[in-house]
């Protein structure tokens, strides 16, 4: 048994907006953005937020493991609820035990690396650390171009780690290069050159030096540098620290964008997914200070790598060049969906509480008399009628098969057409479900689907949202 990173996982939403489409739409007022108008950025679908992305990254990280998670730390600056445990919903969706501690961590772009730095320095129970951010930006802003949406997760604790901690340090320093007030939708950012010269060049080196000293290593010993920052920031850090500029990891800027709290975690996940044994990785978070964490991969890395990480999500894309579609699914413009869109989605919270495992963990029931699986779980078995015989069994990890479906242009959907249908699962279970991430013409009877945790409905009158599982396309062979 050793302490370290037991597993890792990542997630990038499939929608990718061509940055050229942003420029085409906003270039008339912001001609200076032309230089950024290359590649794509990831965009969370209308039913994705930092919470749902965290669930997906957490599933990727925990898949196939038997580890008992004792703590969930959900780091983000964009959690949907200010007073409701977001990490508690994630814990239920991941079917962690009721004794798993849950904490929501925010406050800066380095919320995730700060927790990682703390975990590196002091052993606790098994902690699932998830970084997830879904930052929106003002139309026509630099951030609209450069931001992306994504998440990543690390399981840290005792076991057979794929990487161990060699040293870590954190420095806090209130350089406000960008900020978002608690009641604001968008970030307010100052010129990047200032952050580069006064922040990356002066704050980061202090954290890096302390971490290297604690690890008893020199800058030249580091094989990979994961830095949350631009290429300009990376050059500045290399110059100030003596780190090798060629060893900075892919920032994913071209295909995903800057995912805020999740960014350093996602880049680390990406490095871990292809690292060999004995490689030293320096992870640097930045934002009103800096975190530096040095880890070294272990023999278990090749076992953990199988299928895990961002690659499969980076390959599975739905590219779009529709700027108004992007604004609409991010709720930045309100399309006229007619009176049907006025539907009242009030949630009866006492019902939702009684049925919390049915909904959040997609807990069905398996009849112990006739072995029929069913959702929702009920008093009487749908097949044999036996009473109180159903043992809870989640269907969230099951592969389903489309029995029938439609593409509905009448019913209200924030991303028309509204696709839904009957889906069959193993041992007799059939459920009618709302699909997501499919385009019109993509679904066929007989197709296999996987389930993803998404926003089911928004209640805009009461500022509430509810979640459920939806069929989505299978991930590619990389999975």
């Amino acid at each position: 048994m050793a302490y370290g990173i037991i597993s890792f996982g990542g997630y990038v939403p499939p929608i990718r907006l061509a940055r050229s489409a942003i420029f085409e739409a906003v270039g008339w007022c912001s001609p200076g953005l032309k230089g950024l108008a290359a590649g794509h950025r990831s965009v969370g679908n209308w039913d994705e937020d930092s919470l749902t992305m965290a669930v997906e990254a957490g599933r990727d990280c925990l898949g196939g493991l038997a580890t008992d998670v004792q703590q969930v730390a959900l780091a983000s600056t964009t959690l949907p609820f200010a007073d409701r445990s977001n990490s508690g919903v994630v814990a239920d969706a991941l079917q962690l035990t009721e004794f798993a501690g849950t904490e929501d961590v925010g406050g800066s772009r380095r919320a995730a690396t700060s927790v990682l730095s703390r975990l590196a320095r002091g052993q606790g129970g098994n902690t699932l650390l998830i970084g997830s951010d879904c930052r929106d930006a003002k139309p026509g802003s630099t951030q609209e171009m450069s931001y992306g949406h994504g998440a990543a997760a690390l399981l840290v604790g005792e076991g057979d780690p794929c990487a161990v901690f060699l040293g870590a340090a954190s420095v806090h320093d209130d350089l406000v290069d960008q900020y978002r007030s608690a009641d604001d939708d968008f970030d307010y950012a100052l010129e990047e050159r200032w952050a580069r010269d006064e922040g990356y060049s002066k704050i980061v080196p202090r954290a890096v030096a302390a971490a290297l000293e604690r690890a008893n290593l020199a800058a030249s010993d580091i094989d990979h540098i994961v830095l949350h920052g631009s290429t300009g920031a990376a050059r500045a850090v290399a110059k100030a620290t003596g780190l090798d500029a060629k060893k900075f990891a892919d920032s994913l800027a071209g295909s995903v964008g800057d995912c805020g709290v999740a960014q350093a975690m996602m880049m680390l996940t990406n490095v871990l997914a292809s690292a060999g044994v004995g490689e030293k990785i320096l992870v640097i978070g930045f934002g009103q200070g800096a975190d530096a964490v040095i880890i070294e991969t272990q023999g278990a890395i090749s076992q953990v790598q199988k299928g895990r990480g961002l690659a499969k999500y980076l390959e599975q894309t739905r590219e779009t060049d529709k700027y108004t579609f992007f604004l609409s699914i991010r709720q930045q413009i309100e399309m006229d969906y007619g009176i049907r869109g006025e539907r009242d989605n009030r949630t009866a919270l006492s019902t939702a509480f009684r049925k919390r495992y049915d909904i959040t963990a997609m807990m069905g029931g398996r009849c112990t008399k006739c072995n029929t699986l069913q959702f929702p779980r009920s008093i009487l078995c749908v097949n044999c009628g036996a009473k109180n015989t159903q043992e809870p069994e989640s269907l969230s990890a099951e592969i389903g098969r489309v029995k029938s479906f439609t593409e509905d242009w009448l019913a209200f959907a924030p991303c028309p057409p509204y696709i839904y249908g009957n889906v069959e699962f193993k041992d007799g279970a059939n459920i009618m479900l709302e699909f997501t991430d499919f385009d019109a013409g993509q679904v066929q009877v007989g197709d296999e689907i996987r389930l993803v945790f998404r926003v089911k409905d928004y209640d805009n009158r009461r500022n509430y949202r509810r979640y459920f599982w939806k069929p989505a396309p299978l991930l590619g062979d990389a999975a």
Binding site: T347, T351, D358, L410, A411, F412, E424, G428
Partner: protein
């Protein structure tokens, strides 16, 4: 062993409003209109009616809950009025209540009245509604066309048909109903359409285009029922009796179990088999002379032909394209224009279907009269294919 209600209950008067966008009418006007026709037809006074059943579904959008809208709207003399609501079978359920009261001998004369005012919602299609606090948490917020459209994907998959074949038969269903509706002054949609129009219409819920969907309208229909003995006493000679009324709701099987393949309507099969038994019918295709089925969507009518055991399983497309269900075909279907042309004021539809059977059996259907019908069948399907309420009723001339 109970024998059912065959030939125990006579329908001695019926009324039906013009269905349509009755912007100048509320439920009160619609109820009074169908009621006035029904009692005039029966030759009775309001005071002769001892019990009443009101079929009304979307009460929030029109008349309000309880039996009060009927009692107040018609100024009934404080007789018992029960409001029933069982999705799209609501109108038929009102009739079943009234018929059972008469058959049981609880009263001599009862009334069933169905009404729905849909066009106060401000948008097309049926009103948005909650499915209950738990189901809203997980079931899709589906529309009616989207629910039924799924029959198409499962049907062609099961029977190895081309979508284009199915679409042609669906188009034929709608072309036929429009041709019938054009002859009916009470229908909402009274224009004939062509197969091309149906095939090239805007998509509503794939593969259902605009003309695959029934209209949305306001309307009311009413029936006065009494015992066969009483009908004879009153001097009726050739009158219509109820041969069977059966209802089969889902129990979760279709929605929750893979035993259902999505291509047929389980409850319609159950209800029709029970109804044929109650009516003593053994060869439905030969013995049923006409039908009004729940053609909320063209594909529903197509599939229902098999589930009612009128077409052989997998053969509905051929039967339809052969004209079997056209007005001059072997088993005419939707002779009045169906839901397709009447629209679907939910509480009224089942009674509107009964009205057409009643009129045809009595030879009063004018231009669209079928030659000497003896037995007619009505069918309602409420809900969606994977969770629904199906009713099958059989009417005929007394003694048939």
């Amino acid at each position: 062993m109970a024998k059912g209600i065959k030939d125990k209950v006579a329908i001695i008067g019926m009324g039906c409003t013009r269905f349509g966008e009755r912007w100048d009418c509320g439920p009160e006007e619609l109820m009074n209109e169908s009621f006035a026709e029904a009692i005039a037809d029966a030759g009775i006074e309001k005071e002769d009616i001892e019990m009443a059943w009101l079929g009304l579904y979307s009460q929030e959008h029109s008349a309000g809950k309880s039996g009060l809208p009927l009692s107040v709207g018609l100024r009934l003399p404080n007789i018992p009025v029960t409001r029933v609501e069982n999705m799209c079978a609501t109108g038929t359920e009102a009739l079943r209540g009234a018929a059972y009261a008469v058959a049981a001998g609880a009263c001599d004369m009862a009334m069933a009245l169905g009404v729905e005012k849909l066009k106060d919602t401000g948008y097309g299609g049926l009103p948005e509604r909650s499915k209950g606090t738990f189901d809203d948490l997980w079931l899709p917020n589906q529309s009616a066309p989207g629910s039924f459209a799924q029959l198409a994907s499962a049907y062609i998959n099961k029977h190895k048909k081309d979508l284009s074949e199915l679409k042609r038969a669906m188009a034929h269903v709608s072309v036929k109903s429009h041709a019938n509706g054009a002859l009916n002054e009470k229908a909402h949609l009274r224009r004939e359409i062509t197969e091309d129009q149906a095939l090239n219409a805007p998509m509503i819920a794939n593969p259902l285009g605009l003309y695959d969907c029934c209209g949305v309208s306001d309307g009311s229909a009413c029936a006065i029922v009494t015992s066969v003995e009483k009908a004879k006493e009153m001097g009726f000679k050739d009158f219509v009796t109820i041969k069977a009324m059966q209802l089969a709701p889902s129990n979760g099987f279709e929605l929750q179990n893979t035993g259902w393949d999505g291509s047929y309507l389980h409850t319609t099969r159950v209800a029709s088999e029970r109804a044929y038994k109650e009516a003593g019918i053994t060869k439905p295709r030969e013995e049923v002379n006409m039908m009004e089925v729940h053609d909320c969507f063209s594909v529903t009518e197509l599939v229902v032909m098999e589930d009612l055991h009128i077409a052989e399983e997998g053969n509905a497309i051929n039967d339809i394209l052969d004209g079997t269900f056209d007005r001059d075909g072997k088993v005419p279907c939707q002779v009045d224009g169906g839901l397709k042309c009447f629209g679907h004021p939910i509480g009224a539809s089942g009674l509107r279907m009964a009205y057409e059977m009643y009129s045809q059996l009595l030879g009063r259907s004018g231009e669209r009269q079928i030659e000497n019908p003896k037995i007619g069948l009505t069918h309602n399907l409420g809900g969606q294919p994977n969770r629904n309420v199906a009713s099958v009723s059989i009417f005929g001339l007394n003694g048939a």
